[in-house]
Amino acid sequence: MSTLRALALFAFIIGVAAAASVSPQAQQSLTAAEVGQIIARAVNEAQGRGALATIAVADRVGNVLGVFQMTGAAANSTISSGRGVAGGLENASVPSTLAAIAKAVTGAYLSSRGNAFTTRTASQIIQQNFNVGETFQPGGPLFGVQFSQLPCSDFSVRFFDGGAGGLVNATLGPKRSPLGLAADPGGLPLYKAGGDLVGGIGVISDGRYGLDPVITDFDIDNDELIAIAGQSGFGPPNEIRANFISAGGRTLRYTDRGPEALVRNPATAATFAAINGVNGNLANVTGYYTAAGGLLAGQQYGAAASGYRLEDGTLYGTFRNGNRAMILVDGANANRFPPIAGTDGLLTANEVTQIMIGALTVAYNGRAQIRRPLSDNIHVTISIVDTNGRLLAMARTFDGPVFGTDVSLQKARSAMFFSNVNAASDLTTAGAGARVTQARNFFGRATLLADGIAWGNRSIGNIHRPFYPDGINGNQNGPLSNADNAWSPFSVGLQLELVVNNLTTHLGFVAGNNADTAARCTALPILAATGSNRLANGLQIFAGGVPIYRGNTQVGGIGISGDGIDQDDMIAFLGLHIGGVNLATGIGNAPRGIRADNLAAAGVRLRYVNCPFAPFIDSAVQNVCAGK
């Protein structure tokens, strides 16, 4: 596309007329008393079902507000997909408290004021076919997202026991999740009147941390129903529930049953004071929650103490409808990630700023896929990194789901990493040399991952699926994935192999056996410039990130997360393009000749990005990524 047309597109999409959408406003939060009420109602339902449950409540940014373990509840739960697979995390025993926390965090992190998703929704979107059981359909749109918000992440905030009120970490989010994101039913979001997302509830009572392998039925799942009872009075508006939202032509699943299936009336539940110490107790969870502190109030999302607030407009300006970007802040209310120059000397702070503005512009003008109302703009988090993996800037639209914060950084780093000529040697140092060899043999290319090919996150995902091409059941696996008979969402291949030692160390820490994992995922080589490695919050394997180039030279990566994957791809690709056009310094997408979609294996070409057909609100512009 010529410069003039690019500028015209940019001007057009920032000049579109306003339309109805979710607006930023003061958010509500959970009180400690409400946390108690939620737990008590869940316990009430568990008693009615003869179940012994562990229940956790978290706020929107992942602070654990309470963990209650009913007397006699199983101390541990077993990770199991039910696919009869061994390896990875399959059959691992984990504390039930961690399972409950992961579910609560998932319910909170996947949701927003425009969409209410549950762990059952997560189950639907991470499996080998979408929907599971439908052969010859691509894998779930967020395939791999379960390995995000990891306890080893250098980005996610850590809770330190005894730190409540004493350390700035205490209230700031996004907090890490002990097991990443959960797909086991029993994690639901929590809302207050007016549609404010205030947190999530997670329940485990059956001793199994798994997923729903059969979507054609409607389970009577104790974990889910106990959570529904706890959610009573804090449910989402009906119109934003997952079952009113579609992706890839399929309606998403919220829960299998509703309040009509409860065996007890939540309103008749005893108070928390009446059950605490009688039917169970608050439980200490090292690294997540201190029982001695009692039930905690949640943080108000958008207030500085939550770690998220609106930027005042001086850094990124304003966007469609006068909207401003949201930034992440530290304990002093300062921007944690303002635009900075690359540690490798390849991007200036101004270039980073302009790329971010380009991406935010596309987001605020783009039509959302996975939220309501239908006319709402896209809500995402945007991360920009240098070639050392250093985060150069992070910003978001105001209602992006919190999970996208960590995932956007994963995507930016992953696209950068795979496009870096050091990728093969780094992976080999980290013990993944066999995967490098498999990938090279797969493409018949001896220099793969050392030859400067530009990989989008979609491209990485293409070869990290149990079938190649994705979804063609019976085909061989992509070289980074386990084969189908050894694959499950808990045993995926390279993505987990890179972090499994971190997870194991973290479980030992929670058990009191050893120090915590470093805030540095993977065993990739450590760089002197950062004191860390290039994938320090883990690899991500679904679409939404591209490397950044200056001419033929890679200078970084950009990652997007929070809406549909085509929307994420578009914001990364087009946003980078627009930023580059405005800069006129050679910054932009990788030259077409070196993109991974020039590679083919088994006669099938990889994909680089895929953008929505007619992506902008109140605009007829089509094919906006074509030719760039």
Binding site: R158, G163, L167, R336, R390, A518, A519, R520, A528, G531
Partner: protein
């Protein structure tokens, strides 16, 4: 962009860590430690294994997004990640042991864990190690 420097407290006799550990060109993962944030006292001893440092460096990377380096006066300055902009802290070895004096101050206003990088140059190499500090 560089911001204003922040002053660290006077150094006192400090509990230390790292005896027997060496730095390396590929980066050594050093033992971590916990501190009382209200009065954090951090030093790190490394075994030079015969190396003769010509310059010594200390850097810090924090979850609040900031990267800093320590100068020879004990001031912490914003650092952009380029090795050629590092400031020599002028630590002197005692025999084969090099002691890095890092922090002696209240750091309760910082996010944790803090990732420290200690490093030295020789005539032929740049060697470094990384360790994390968490609150007690």
């Amino acid at each position: 962009m560089l911001g204003a420097a922040s002053v660290i407290a006077l150094l006192v006799a400090l509990p230390s860590s790292g005896f027997g550990q060496t730095l390396s060109a590929s980066g050594t993962v050093l033992s971590g430690m916990t501190v009382n944030p209200a009065s954090a006292q951090i030093t790190y001893n490394v075994d030079l294994a015969g190396d003769v440092p010509t310059a010594t460096y200390v850097m810090a990377h924090m979850p609040d997004g900031k990267s800093l380096q320590r100068n020879n006066l004990g001031y912490w300055l914003p650092w952009g990640g380029q090795l050629d902009t590092l400031i020599d802290n002028k630590f002197v070895a005692t025999g084969n042991t090099l002691t890095f004096k890092i922090v002696d101050q209240d750091i309760r206003d910082r996010m944790f864990p803090i990732r420290f990088v200690i490093a030295y140059r020789t005539t032929s190499a740049f060697k470094f190690g990384v360790f994390e500090v968490s609150p007690q």
